[in-house]
Symmetry: none
Subunit: 225 residues, 4 copies
DNA sequence: CATGAATGAGTGTTCATTCAT
DNA sequence: AATGAATGAACACTCATTCAT
């Protein structure tokens, strides 16, 4: 699934060499946690600024100074809450991960008694929605997140458990003679890859709806045959 | 397919805006094809330098000056053959596209009378091999290539024709009642997405061979059911 | 001797945390040695700029950008020849050390057959001259040079050998019953400390000449009694 | 004596120019002496924080924010009692000067009837002890104190009176034919320079005790011969 | 008075690009 | 053509200082 991309090379391009790594930790620890209202607002403003800039398709504008400007805070405030630029991306990534987690949970509950087809359709739809929100943001995150950064785990890992449960409960609908774990694992990865691709790599002449439907068909074919 | 990623935002980060914007066009126009032997060698050395640097997992080292150094030519010579940094990536991309084209052609010819299964297996294998060669290079290319750059078209487009032919010739083996074009189109995209994913997003505990086999199974299931 | 101050804390104040130390070495190695005439001139201009700024008593103006400006070169050129700011100070220090070495040698030769008194007077005078040239530069060097930086060895070490030779050759003039090495060692340190103090810590109502003469007297008293 | 160093260039590096230049004076004038207990405790905590940080050999950590943190007060409180960062160093320097004054007085009284040798030994020992307490603090003070800052006068000035009295009372033990004032003056400077050097510039292979003894010998030789 | 969030000028450093030789 | 020294806009980040609460 796409998140593994992180591990191949993180923090590419010209992000400045991080300062003394020991210092980073020390600093990270010493950065204030935003306890006061105003502080929390500042943090939100910073994170939102990044997504706002990327929505403008201005990846080159994602500089610390510009982020601060768009957030309407001073550059000093940015560094009050984030030890360095990368930490901003990590925070955004964290927000996204939580969002996915909640979505998976919700879908699992809502479709407790649906058929395999309905369940797969729901899951693919939810994943596509999650990805579709900010595709550029997402692509940038992939490039900028470092290997093994806290929370850089794959979304597929999150899907895996859900599919394991769902498949086990619907064994009758599926092909016999297959290891449950492997099936769940592959399915989770397919959902992730196909929904990700539907959003980020969809060719101009295929609608999002069509891509979704075709993804569902492919997954079901894999599960059933 | 991954190449569409290009279109979402190209040339991100801090690539310098050239002082003289006209230069790129003017230069590109006036740039003579390297017909002489030495010139061609220089160009090749530059392109190879980029891949060599990335194979060292040193994405941060992909600077024009470093490229020139690794290529064993002066930075001035780099700008003799490429109007700017982006053009280097475009050239590498071009090389890769040609390579894929030749591979598709070869596979098509070699498996003219194979079964669907054998054909799919061969195609997936070839694509994975193509991708596996330089995964970092690939990931960087995605980030750096500009929208609509010459040759930035998807590999899936290249696969599409091949699959159309192959599927048409093996209609008997497949499910009835499906639009040939759509089937070919989706299959091509699945091959691209899955092989790409197998190389770039494969989780650590799944071997490349297993990922390949599972990809083949998924595609055949889609084609047959 | 004052140089030992280096070891107590180097690189104080707000000099930025050095980047990845491995990178520093890599860079240092890769920085061009100034072989061409123009390059050598650039390097000299940079070093001179620092001393020029300090002579204006403007220690706060010793910033890389200002150094470049005063040197009449671009900031990029500064970093073409020095991996970081500290390296500039190290280079200046190196120049100074060489100068002291040559001076010690000259004095030793010139006073091969002088009395102890004449020899001490010459050495003290030479050291004071050396120190007097750029006192602020010197004081700054002490603050900025890192512990154990190449060439950060004490000048006293350089004087030690000279005094050992000189004292051995003039044993008759001196007090008996003293270890030659220790005598040479302490004398060298006295010369260094007193001449350094005469320049850097001399109270306003004592002339440089008087300070020198008194230093000579004190050293001779120590050697003779 | 080392304090003169201050006059060569003070407050080096990047200390911010206050936005409102009048503030410092205005504040200084209006700043009430911390008569209340809590206020005095705050001031002490701030001064101690600086020395505590420097004892950790963390000269780079001497930032106003960090000082406040270590002192356990808010940055706002720091600026309640000190108009700017420099004032903190001045206060520390002031404390140190008072301490030296008291020490000189004590030694003078305690050795009212001792020999020259004993007196010199006591004085050198006391000075070394005074310097040895916080060598880094000391070195930093030298760099940071401004020219002509209140109290930036030399310690030698403080020693001068003491030695004048002591020498006058022990004229019999010393060499004839020398101006008393000059002798006292030079001796005071030697004590200061040598004790300072013994602490801050002592080479690794010479013990503090040995450096002290040798300093005493040199001074006595100067006084007697 | 105390707090600590906010400020922003200024710092060291990088690297795509230019151009005199 | 080829060279490589020079350029300088732009970047990530720091920290003395201010001021609303």
């Amino acid at each position: 699934m796409y998140m593994y991309t992180y591990s191949h090379y993180g923090y590419a391009d010209r992000m400045r060499t991080p300062k003394n790594p020991a210092r980073r930790i020390a600093h990270a620890a010493s950065r204030r946690k935003p306890t006061q209202l105003r502080a929390r607002q500042t943090v939100e403003a910073i994170l939102d600024a990044v997504t706002r800039i990327l929505r403008r398709n201005d990846a080159a504008g994602v500089t610390t100074n510009h982020i601060a400007e768009v957030a309407g805070v001073s550059i000093g405030s940015v560094y009050q809450y984030f030890p360095d630029k990368r930490a901003i991306f990590e925070a955004i990534h964290g927000r996204h991960v939580e969002q996915i987690d909640r979505m998976v949970e919700r879908t699992l509950v809502a479709h407790a008694s649906s058929s395999v087809e309905e369940f797969v359709r729901a899951m693919v739809g939810a994943m596509i929605d999650a990805h579709a929100q900010d595709p550029e943001l997402y692509a940038l995150l992939m490039t900028q997140m470092a290997h093994g950064a806290a929370g850089a785990q794959d979304f597929a890992v999150r899907l895996h458990g859900a599919f394991r449960l769902a498949i086990a409960a619907r064994a009758r609908e599926l092909k016999r003679g297959h290891d449950l774990d492997r099936l769940a694992f592959v399915t989770a990865h397919m959902v992730d890859a196909l929904s990700h691709g539907a959003v980020l790599r969809r060719p101009p002449n295929v609608s999002l709806a069509a891509a979704r439907e075709e993804s569902v068909r492919a997954i079901l074919a894999y599960l059933r045959c």
